[in-house]
């Protein structure tokens, strides 16, 4: 069975690397980008099953990345990572197809659950 491919876009290196390692231990394949621009390019160029996207990114904000991915007609499910910075934009994000939230610091169980959910609804 093919492994599920995850793209992690987050500017905190230590966080992203450790998270990736934990996910790999659970059977996922992961790739990491550390800024919005490279992340967007990678997302468009290569095929991923789920994108884990931090909202706070250099070069291009997470919000912009999300919008542009969808503009490219890519319907890859996206899980947004964020601190408890709740603002009115959130409702906007949820309007996009296949978008979910997970709050930092990440509860790994919750993240796994959301990944499964989002893959399921995507089929």
């Amino acid at each position: 069975m093919e492994k599920t491919k995850l793209l992690i876009i987050d500017d905190e290196e230590e966080f992203a690397k450790t998270l990736a390692e934990r996910l790999e231990l659970r059977g996922y394949e992961t790739e990491i980008c550390f800024d919005g621009k490279t992340g967007l390019e990678k997302a468009i160029k290569e095929k991923f099953d789920v994108i884990i996207l931090d909202l706070k990114l250099p070069m291009l904000s997470g919000a912009e990345v999300l919008k542009r991915i969808r503009k490219h007609n890519l319907d890859t499910p996206i899980i947004l990572l964020t601190g408890y910075d709740i603002s009115n934009e959130f409702n906007e994000f949820l309007k996009f197809q296949s978008v979910k939230f997970v709050f930092k610091p990440v509860d790994i169980k919750e993240l796994l659950k959301k990944i499964k959910e989002v893959l399921k609804s995507h089929e």
Binding site: E12, F15, T18, E21, I86, K104, P105, V106
Partner: protein
């Protein structure tokens, strides 16, 4: 504006209610002066003008009448003198000493002029050589009489009034004529002065007025109501000479009188019109007292209106000042909160990242260790990592609350039963309540209407308050929760019999980072609670007595305010 500032700054270094009392006082004084002074001046002017007007009103007509009477009198005398002159010139001496002729002449005269009493002719020696009249005066010698001497010098003589033989008042007109250049003779008539009286009566004066003629020495020539019959002397001194009608006043037997008088030239009489001052003054006094009453009423009215108006206005000012102070304080508080909020948000943000890293690293350690085979103290190490993760969760809760406090949270409105909500929240605290023997009494209003609000946030509010109550009471303590309606709002009261708070503490409990729990609390609970309640359109009040207990009352509207709806 300087004077106004002075007036207002006068003793207004005082604060509080004294300040407003002082303003009221100063404003009242100012307004009263401004309104009262012109009013007073007007009343004063009016008062004194009345006097003048009155005088004119009474006296001008009198003066006019006096003038007319003067002219009538002078004309009358002039005509009588002219008549006598005519006779003296038209007839010769010889004609006149003829009794028959004189009788005839006299008859004709008396047909025209009824006031002629007698007529006599005197020769140059003063002997009355002919006389027609009621008295027996033919042959009388007048050579030593004053009037004879006068007429010989002045050619015309008009006498004062005197009492004739029958005690009737008479006057004499005598004229001198010449037989030839050396021999004068005198024609003399007596006139009944009742005719003068008639002229005076014809002035048509009112009954309380007395009018009469006096000679220049003050002897009455016509009868006076007040001062007696002819030839009495008037009891006051003669007023100064004036051929135009003038006024003077006299006092007689303690009463005051006004006298309008005018001097006549021919005859040398003075016409006087006497009016008792009291009569005039009575009317004048009534008017004066009317003015005074109006003045008093007006002043009373001014005082009343000014004082009430000032009180009302200053009270409004005070209200407005107090409102403004309150608004400023709230704004200050709000601003403090928002800058603190921004600070808190910044901190929380910063902390979140390393926190996330710690979380992942610890998680990874646990992941790795789990796949390892058993080693001594594997369990212990795993449980230690578990503790780390739990602490991280706690940090997460703290930062989430910090950030939630900082920004507006998403509000989800639904219909809520407050009573049910309270019961749900209590479920969280059941265990602790049982364990610590804390008695929770519920007095929830039946038929409490549903409200539209955010369930999650209300839960937070009540949970927070109840947590505080639990912290405040000792084991075995009591908490009473009641719900009721008040003024179209829902009220939830949470009262405990715990340690209570003093006034100082009460002032600060809703401030962020203020806490009485030295190492446990974040100091944010109540400030967040306060923020939530305000955002949902409600109010939160607290009463407390040290060592007796505390009561929180939360008021919630039935519908959320429009602003909150905007946030959706």
């Amino acid at each position: 504006m300087g004077i106004f500032e002075k007036l207002f700054s006068f003793k207004i270094d005082e604060t509080g209610s004294n300040r407003y009392k002082a303003i009221k006082r100063n404003l009242s004084i100012l307004m009263i002066s401004v309104t009262f002074i012109p009013f007073f001046l007007m009343a004063l002017i009016n008062y004194f003008q009345q006097r003048t007007i009155f005088k004119k009103e009474i006296f001008l007509p009198l003066q006019s009448i006096a003038n007319k009477a003067k002219h009538s009198l002078e004309l009358f005398i002039h005509q009588r003198v002219a008549t006598v002159n005519f006779i003296a010139k038209a007839y010769s001496y010889n004609d006149l000493i003829d009794s028959q002729k004189l009788i005839k002449i006299f008859k004709v005269i008396t047909e025209e002029f009824k006031e002629f009493v007698d007529i006599g002719v005197l020769n140059e020696k003063g002997i009355q050589v002919n006389y027609i009249g009621p008295y027996n005066l033919k042959g009388k010698d007048y050579s030593q009489h004053q009037w004879f001497k006068e007429v010989m010098v002045n050619r015309v003589y008009i006498s004062d009034v005197f009492l004739g033989y029958r005690r009737f008042p008479h006057m004499v007109i005598a004229v001198k004529n010449y037989l030839d250049s050396e021999h004068p003779w005198v024609l003399r008539v007596t006139i009944d002065t009742a005719c003068l009286n008639d002229i005076i009566l014809s002035m048509g004066l009112s009954p309380e007025t007395d009018a009469f003629l006096v000679n220049y020495a003050g002897i009455l020539q016509t009868p006076s109501k007040f001062y007696g019959k002819e030839l009495n002397k008037i009891p006051f001194s003669m007023p100064p000479l004036s051929y135009q009608p003038s006024i003077t006043s006299i006092t007689y037997k303690y009463k005051k009188f006004f006298v309008v008088y005018v001097y006549l030239k021919n005859p040398k009489f003075v016409l006087m019109i006497v009016k008792p001052a009291s009569f005039i003054l009575k009317k004048y006094t009534i008017l004066r007292s009317e003015i005074i009453i109006m003045f008093i009423l007006g002043t009373g009215f001014i005082l009343f209106v000014v004082i009430r108006l000032t009180a009302f206005t200053v009270d409004k000012i005070k209200e407005a000042d107090e409102k403004r102070e309150k608004a400023l304080k709230e704004l200050e508080h709000h601003q403090k909160l928002s800058s603190l909020g921004r600070l808190a948000a910044g901190v929380a943000h910063e902390i979140n990242n390393p926190l996330a890293i710690i979380n992942e690293k610890a998680g990874l350690i646990a992941d790795i260790l789990e796949t390892e085979e058993s080693f001594p103290r594997k369990e212990k190490v795993l449980s230690l990592i578990n503790s780390i993760e739990k602490s991280i969760q706690r940090c997460k809760r703290i930062t989430s609350r910090l950030l939630g406090f900082a920004k507006r949270m998403d509000v989800q409105i639904e219909k809520i039963s407050v009573n049910d909500l309270i019961k749900e929240v209590l479920e969280f605290l059941e265990n602790e309540a049982t364990y610590r023997n804390i008695e929770i009494q519920l007095d929830l209003a039946k038929d409490l209407p549903l409200i539209e609000s955010d369930k999650g946030q209300l839960q937070q509010v009540f949970l927070n308050i109840l947590n505080n109550s639990f912290d405040a009471v000792d084991d075995g303590g009591k908490i009473l929760i009641s719900t009721y309606q008040e003024n179209d709002q829902i009220a939830i009261s949470i009262a405990d019999n715990g340690c209570g708070m003093d006034e100082e503490t009460l002032k600060h409990i809703f401030e962020p980072f203020f806490t009485t729990k030295k190492h446990k609390g974040t100091g944010l609970g109540l400030s967040i609670t306060y923020g939530i309640v305000k955002r949902l359109g409600g109010e939160i009040k607290v009463n407390s007595r040290l060592n007796e207990g505390t009561t929180f009352i939360v008021y919630l509207p039935k519908k959320p305010p429009a602003l909150t709806k905007e946030l959706l």
